[in-house]
Point group: C2
Chain length 341, copies 2
DNA sequence: CTGAAAGCGCTTACAG
DNA sequence: CTGAAAGCGCTTACAG
């Protein structure tokens, strides 16, 4: 086939038509589902396609259909955090592969700077992609509104906060996960259960705190503000929050931390304070990141179903592109028991 | 502008021409560099573009130019390893951003399975991208030959081993980095310096070992096979290699490990064996991954210039697409001194 | 410097 | 079921 050096002029629909002895319209019909085509014609075209090694020219197709048959994966600032998050890789890989199964390429777009954001929005608003998989942690991110205003199908990863526009999203069950963890801590005898939350302008911050609070009530435990500290999803933030908690409530016997990374910081602080985990204080994380396994003690945590999240994002985006209404998908998390609680 | 719901029919070159009072050919000339256009005409067209919000239809352009103005980032199996590698993120992000600066979208392609490989190759060979940024750790990867045979411009990350085809690549100076580390170990008084290599069918495996060996000679130290163990870039592989080394050469006083991840395994083994780092045994890694900072003791290691690697990959690929010959770029690493050596 | 025209490779009503 | 034809939005020699 492709023996000679350099690129050969690729076969066109015209070559296939000549080879098969039919018109170009018939070839096109075979390419697009084979409706209104006789079995004989279809067979001839299929054979001709094989002989000529024909592959459709997507640019020509897109020019006339007005669709690009491609999808953007758009990461808005601050992307650094995501690029350090191993879960992000799982998400990106999952989306790429789910799209590839439908022969849809994924365009990776990073809107870290203002300039990049302008560029990417211009590209998307020009109709160069059929839809957008959006990863944005930014509450009230203007990108969401811009995309919505442009009429571009969008599916977000996680609930977009502070949005008026109704856009579809796929998220893990943050609240349910938090409930599972607090129930577990309670069931193993803990009664002074503290929490380190995520930033309260993120879904994970708000929802996991809500789940914590609800389960406390369910277990007949009082809600005590001294047991609640706000973190920023960083390891250092976890350290500081744990110091604050230890200071305000030295008698605490468990901490539910809204992310594994922060939980590592909590472990550091507890270690320095001479508190043993889990003997004195149980620690539960969230994410089931690789660090959860590597830490000492290994972390009891909640696994987010990133593989299912990516699959659902792609599925619902394609449905949206096909004209369906935006939907919300909430996927369950799974409690992973290790040594810390 | 884009107020109403849904997508508006976007402006075409025709609209711009009418608005500016010139022909479509003139608009096109302005779009493509403004050569052979009078200042007055150019000004009129620029104004019309601004008024109409015109954005070029890339499909139409590509159809006629035969170029896609897009580039693939192709990851061949086993991709899992790369997706766990934080350096991979830096590389991917760097490539995306360097391309974005030229308004060239990056198509992310993962060829993990045979099916995915077929799909991606078909897409690329059909001429749907102008070039490929290739990340392949596989010695003798057939993808390289296929791409070369198809005449698609390619730039690889790291030296492609076992290839007859001459393709361009960008790599860190593995050998020089290894030399720096061994010199450092020697300069700090170590005389029984062992090494844990990477797999010997990878450039990092081969080159870092070569650098180790050369520097031993340079320092007047004998090359002793008992001091060389082969790893597989995994933490467990590092553990096992260290046990082997300790067994064969209990008097060793330093280990140069060809990756940080393996170095963590080495630290585990040394810890269990009761050897103190760095007092009894110095340990040097390679990569400067986040784990290098998090480990105890923190790891002395070699930083790979991933930001420069990505920039050079994009630069040389674009040059190659423009018709230049393939080139090789070797970028220096940097010794990062921390606590382990 | 500029316009008119051809043509890139496809899809899709429109007749038959 | 099938062919002929129009047209998607652009670029690029070709005349002027």
């Amino acid at each position: 086939m492709s023996t000679a050096a350099g690129r050969r002029r690729p076969a066109t629909i015209h070559d296939v038509a000549r080879e098969a002895g039919v018109s170009r319209g018939t070839v096109s019909r075979v390419l697009n589902g084979g409706h209104y085509v006789s079995p004989a014609a279809k067979a001839a075209v299929d054979a001709a396609i094989r002989r000529t090694g024909y592959v459709v020219n997507r640019h020509a197709r897109s020019l006339i259909t007005g669709k690009s048959d491609s999808v953007a994966f758009l990461l808005t600032e601050p992307q650094e955090r995501f690029f350090e998050d191993p879960n992000f890789n799982v998400l990106l890989r999952g989306c790429t592969q789910a799209l590839a199964a439908q022969d849809i390429p994924l365009l990776l777009m990073i809107a870290g700077t203002e300039d990049e954001r302008r560029r990417n929005l211009r590209y998307i608003e020009a109709g160069h992609v059929d839809g957008v998989l959006l990863v944005s942690s930014h509450s009230g991110d203007p990108v969401v509104d811009r995309l919505h205003a442009a009429g571009v199908p969008v599916v977000a990863c996680g609930k977009p906060l502070g949005q008026t526009a109704r856009i579809g999203y796929v998220a893990a069950d943050d609240r349910g996960g938090a409930q599972d963890m607090v129930r577990h801590l309670h069931a193993t005898g803990r009664r002074r259960i503290a929490t380190v939350t995520g930033p309260l302008d993120t879904p994970g911050g708000v929802e996991r705190l809500a789940g914590y609070r609800e389960t406390l009530a369910e277990c007949g435990l009082p809600y005590d503000e001294d047991l609640v500290a706000t973190g920023d999803y960083s390891r250092r933030g976890g350290e500081a929050a744990a110091r604050l908690l230890l200071d305000r409530a030295p008698d605490l016997d468990a901490v539910f931390v809204a992310s594994d990374l922060m939980a590592l910081g909590v472990l550091d602080t507890l270690d320095r304070a001479g508190r043993r985990v889990p003997e004195d204080i149980a620690v539960g994380g969230f994410d089931d990141s690789p660090a959860a396994l590597a830490s000492r003690p290994s972390l009891t945590t909640l696994r987010q179903p990133w593989d299912r999240i990516s699959a659902e994002m792609v599925r619902t985006l394609l449905a949206r592109i096909a004209g369906e209404d935006p939907v919300t998908v909430i996927l369950p998390t799974e409690l992973v028991r290790r040594d810390s609680a």
